[in-house]
Homo-oligomer: 660 residues x 2
């Protein structure tokens, strides 16, 4: 009720093809090609429910190999090996592929992203020549054996050892403890013939940290090679078309050339050589190859959210419940559409807005990835910012998927629970997105560490305790001044209204993107400063760094999240600002406002506590979110149709009778 | 860091058997019996993953029939038919059964709660004699055919018609439109021989609203009877051991005696008779039999959360990650336990506290249910309060399950994704709890309606628009004065600190349960008043009631939620207050404080906006939540062990190596 701040705003209209074109961006052709390819494999969605696990795994493998033959998934590899030579295109293709069955997607990710990516990024010409053409064509399936039962996020602590035997010119690979068995490795249980194995490199009794080697696992007939033991990880919550497994190595020998030696090598006589002097930086450089995987998973998360929203919005525009008030509840009258209920709008539309925000944020990220990995941008700083942005965006995009899919399922009631309406698989398959390719909390910790040290040159060497000591050793002002946020935002405090209940109590400026950005930036800067102060205070009080970190950890995460939220909002605001005036811009503007304001609303207590929001203004924001929902309601269908999820992939028989 | 408000607090210790006894309460024997029974069926958890759907359905059916033979699930039926004659005991048994496979649980719920409950509560002696003994023993399986494809929550709008034919002395049952097909009906696809069918009763051309009739579906051999068409709902997100289906009726004839005639009957000559004059109240009286199902599902949700927390807490006390600070990161040193990280405590311990809160709230609710349904309490008001409390608690308990299971899964990382660690089934099976036995949002709307009308005698007649008009017709003060909350809480405003930043800026009273209760009560009262004001303002401004309701809907839900949160907190506080002084009381006190304060923290913006929380005090609450987590950390294991989830049901092989 209350103030009708948007009643005077123009009615929104959306041209669906134009919006799809905008969303498709630079790689519209690639996305269209994949969207046209996907209906061919729509039956895989049903196979996932009906086929026994072994059969479904074979089916998914066949589909992956077939898709490989179309060239749709090898776009990121050099053309000389049969790839497309365009990393940005490969991200666009992968993200679009996520409209379909997600076992297929993840198997593609394992084969081309992780396994293929490691060979490409960590290997040199000898490895490229030996493997790339075959793996791109799907003739050689491989796996990426990094995670161990006891070590997921803490890769530096891996227990697998690769020890160099100079007599034989070979590495000897051994699983040293039960905790050091490789685990959750996709493609390992059945299909991989080779693995890229991450192990502690030992040369002449000296430890050089984690390195990657190519290790054959199975012969041509599929039999496991001597010294290798493989166990099936068994049934999983989802993604049962991917054969995850455990691998143990018992003195397995591989030639010296098996070491992926782009960043470090061992000479024949057993000398360790590397152009990167710092062991820590070397480690993080190798891990940097994970960045493409994180960008890809984030894109997949956003796509999964789009599918869920498409189904839930269409369902809400078709399903009626209880009488509408129009005819005062006369008998036999049509009940009200779900999406005409204020609560239903509140449940779906801010999530739709956020999905758009993360779409645009992923687009910016993919462009940066393309520039860095294609050598268009070559400075070290850009690479570090990319890694941080990829880690943070991955966390937000995958949590978005979990949250949106859940809400959409509930918003479809019992129909949402039937597998045929897709939510079952969407939920189960995407659930692990928040964990794999880096646990979201750990990724945000990495982002936080980077912010606090401003990606200092020795950043890579710092574990969490090193970070505590580093920050505690600086004056708080120094930490703050060193942060990028601070430098960019010196004038924010003055530009922002204070929280005093007298000022800014009107709605003026509530829909001003500069106001939104100032709020997000203020939060980021203040959060970072708060962490720095807490770290210093903890260390100064004599607490040990581990205890200090444990107590400040949630503030580190909150600071990182504030940082990524700011980046995401900027991407959306900049996208809208760059558009030509017109209906589409008006609609996206409203969507961007809804995203920004519902973000502030969700964190209102913090803004009030930090004197950047008056209680009146906070209430005004809540009203404005409701108003924006009502304003966007008439174009909700167009906003999901623009995602262009191919109709056969929606399944959802309830939607077939549309208009009934 | 900051103020160490709890450093002076005594160290907590917990006697696990004593706490289990407390949790078990009045029905300790029943719960123990079911806990001892469950390991026999632990293999069903694995069967759910490995068996094809048809085979698993048969397996679950066998288990249900076997369990029925032990008497563990018929406790709520009269002893003369082989039941246990104790409704409270049946709720306790059902809640405990939820530690095991949930297809078994839900099939038990369908057979004994819904089908059996309808026969018992809506039928009379002729129906009891005909069906109860057989259904209690599992010899006659049935289903509860209420929901239709087009009508879930709006039961009053069902499209199935039962028309009385006085010539034949029979009812003719017909599915009138495609939307009126019965849908999602458990036991329908395979096993039910009879159904309790809800249909619009037509007698001599007059409509009398929704009534229930017993309709045979299949013959002894399992063949579908003439006029009946049944279709399988197919694969679902979870609960695939339950055979949900759709049913259509084409002029199916049943004798006049098939009408479950406790509240209304049709005489042989075709006269409709009922002791309840109001059609609306008659309808809600019949629906009142659903209350037991809601109490049961809520109890099951809490049990599922307990299983998830048991696994996640034990995992967090075993899995190590990154170096501890104790030895300043020396090589080879043990990494830090997950639960020693502040963030991990923050993720698990407030959820553990809330699970305890809802456990105690469910206990109070079950006791009320027992008293009302056993005839110990007979007044109409108690029944209405019970219905409201059951609806609200069901919503909070099932959302708790969804939230807790998700967070616990993520907190176990990749291990949590493997089916063997139980989260896969826990998540998939419980997901529909928020939808079935009443959609949570719709249930909260019912609660809100009751609050606004103070369960007025004509409450049952009011649909949402009637409610809008009813409330709008009163002065806001009248609405408020009529509310129970208001009468109870006249002195709250004075007792509570205001939000002015000068007052109450210390931590004084932060752990005072009277303070917590006053905050929760203030929120409830203020929320209800706010809705009343908005409804009046909307109608006064000339908006139609449907539009008014749509716009105020989220406030109605928020008011209802505030009401249920207050009830839940009271249950916990009263439980703790009733305990003898000692270690156990100290521990539960801390847990209750954590629950209360994290609830306030989650809604801090609202409290600040409404001048009941200063920003300093809000920050102090956040610190206190962190302190309480640290204080409870050493007894976390004991707090989950007290749930007494039988070890074989945990599966989770990762937990076997405990202490390693």
């Amino acid at each position: 009720m209350a103030e009708e701040s948007t009643t005077s705003a123009p009615v929104l209209t959306v041209d669906v093809p134009a919006l799809t074109e905008l969303l498709d961006g630079r790689y519209a052709d690639v996305r269209r090609t994949v969207r046209e390819l996907l209906p061919t494999y729509a039956s895989v969605l049903e196979d996932a429910e009906t086929m026994p696990r072994d059969e479904f795994r074979e089916r998914v493998k066949e589909v992956v190999v077939e898709i490989a033959s179309t060239g749709a998934v090898g776009m990121g590899f050099p053309e000389e090996y049969g790839g497309g030579g365009d990393i940005g295109a490969s991200i666009a293709a992968f993200g679009t592929l996520a409209y379909g069955d997600l076992s297929v997607l993840v198997k593609v990710g394992v084969q081309f992203g992780l396994f293929g990516g490691a060979i490409l990024q960590l290997g040199t010409k000898r490895h490229h020549d030996a493997y790339l053409a075959d793996l791109i064509a799907g003739r050689l399936l491989g796996c990426f054996a990094m995670t161990e039962t006891g070590h997921g996020s803490n890769v530096q602590a891996l227990g697998t050892v690769a020890s160099y035997d100079p007599e034989a010119g070979e590495f000897v690979i051994t699983t040293t403890t039960p905790e050091a068995g490789k685990d959750y490795i996709g493609n390992a249980a059945k299909h991989a013939r080779v693995a890229v194995v991450f192990a502690q490199l030992e040369v002449a009794g000296e430890e050089h940290g984690v390195h990657a080697l190519v290790v054959p696992l199975r012969d041509e007939a599929g039999a496991t090679l001597p010294g290798i033991r493989i166990e099936d990880d068994g049934h999983k919550m989802g993604l049962n078309g991917v054969d995850n497994g455990r691998i143990w190595f018992d003195g397995v020998r591989v030639p010296r050339e098996a070491l992926l030696n782009r960043f470090a090598d061992v000479t024949e006589d057993g000398t360790y050589v590397s152009e990167i002097e710092s062991a820590g930086r070397r480690f993080f450089t190798m891990l940097g190859t994970l960045v493409q995987g994180r960008v890809s998973v984030g894109a997949a998360g956003v796509s999964a959210a789009k599918v869920a929203l498409t189904i839930a919005v269409r369902y809400a525009l078709q399903r009626r419940q209880f009488e509408t008030g129009a005819g005062e509840g006369a008998d036999g009258e049509k009940e009200q559409l779900l999406l005409d209920y204020g609560l239903h709008q509140r449940r779906l539309l801010p999530r739709l807005a956020r999905t758009y925000a993360l779409h645009f944020a992923q687009e910016v990220l993919a462009a940066r990835l393309h520039d860095v990995f294609s050598g268009i941008t070559t400075d070290e700083e850009s690479r570090r910012l990319l890694e941080s942005r990829a880690a943070g965006t991955k966390a937000l995009s995958t949590w978005l998927a979990t949250d949106v899919i859940q809400e959409c399922r509930e918003a479809c009631g019992g129909a949402g629970y039937l597998s045929v309406n897709r939510f079952a698989a969407l939920k189960a398959d995407t659930d692990v997105f928040t964990t794999f390719e880096g646990d979201n909390h750990v990724l945000l910790q990495l982002v936080g560490k980077g912010l606090l040290t401003d990606f200092a040159s020795d950043f890579s060497d710092l574990d969490q305790l090193g970070m505590v000591r580093f920050v505690a050793g600086l004056a708080v002002d120094t930490v703050l001044e060193k942060t990028r946020a601070h430098r960019l935002l010196q004038s924010i405090r003055d530009a922002l209204p204070s929280g005093g209940n007298d000022s800014w109590s009107t709605d003026a400026g509530l829909r001003d993107p500069e106001y939104h950005l100032a709020m997000y930036r203020f939060r980021e800067e203040h959060r970072i400063g708060g962490v720095a102060r807490r770290l210093k205070r903890g260390v100064d009080s004599g607490m040990n760094p581990g205890e200090v970190f444990s107590r400040v950890q949630d503030h580190v995460i909150a600071a990182a999240r504030a940082h990524v939220e700011r980046i995401v909002l900027e991407a959306f605001v900049e996208q809208v600002a760059a558009m030509e005036d017109g209906d589409l811009k008006l609609a996206l503007n409203a969507l961007c406002d809804l995203h920004a304001l519902s973000g502030i609303e969700a964190d209102a207590a913090w803004f009030i506590e930090h004197d950047r929001l008056s209680t009146q203004r906070s209430k005004a924001i809540t009203r404005e979110v409701g108003d924006l929902c009502r304003r966007l309601r008439p174009v909700a269908r167009e906003l999901v149709d623009a995602f262009a999820v191919p109709e056969p992939l929606l399944r959802a028989p309830a939607l077939v009778e549309e208009g009934a």
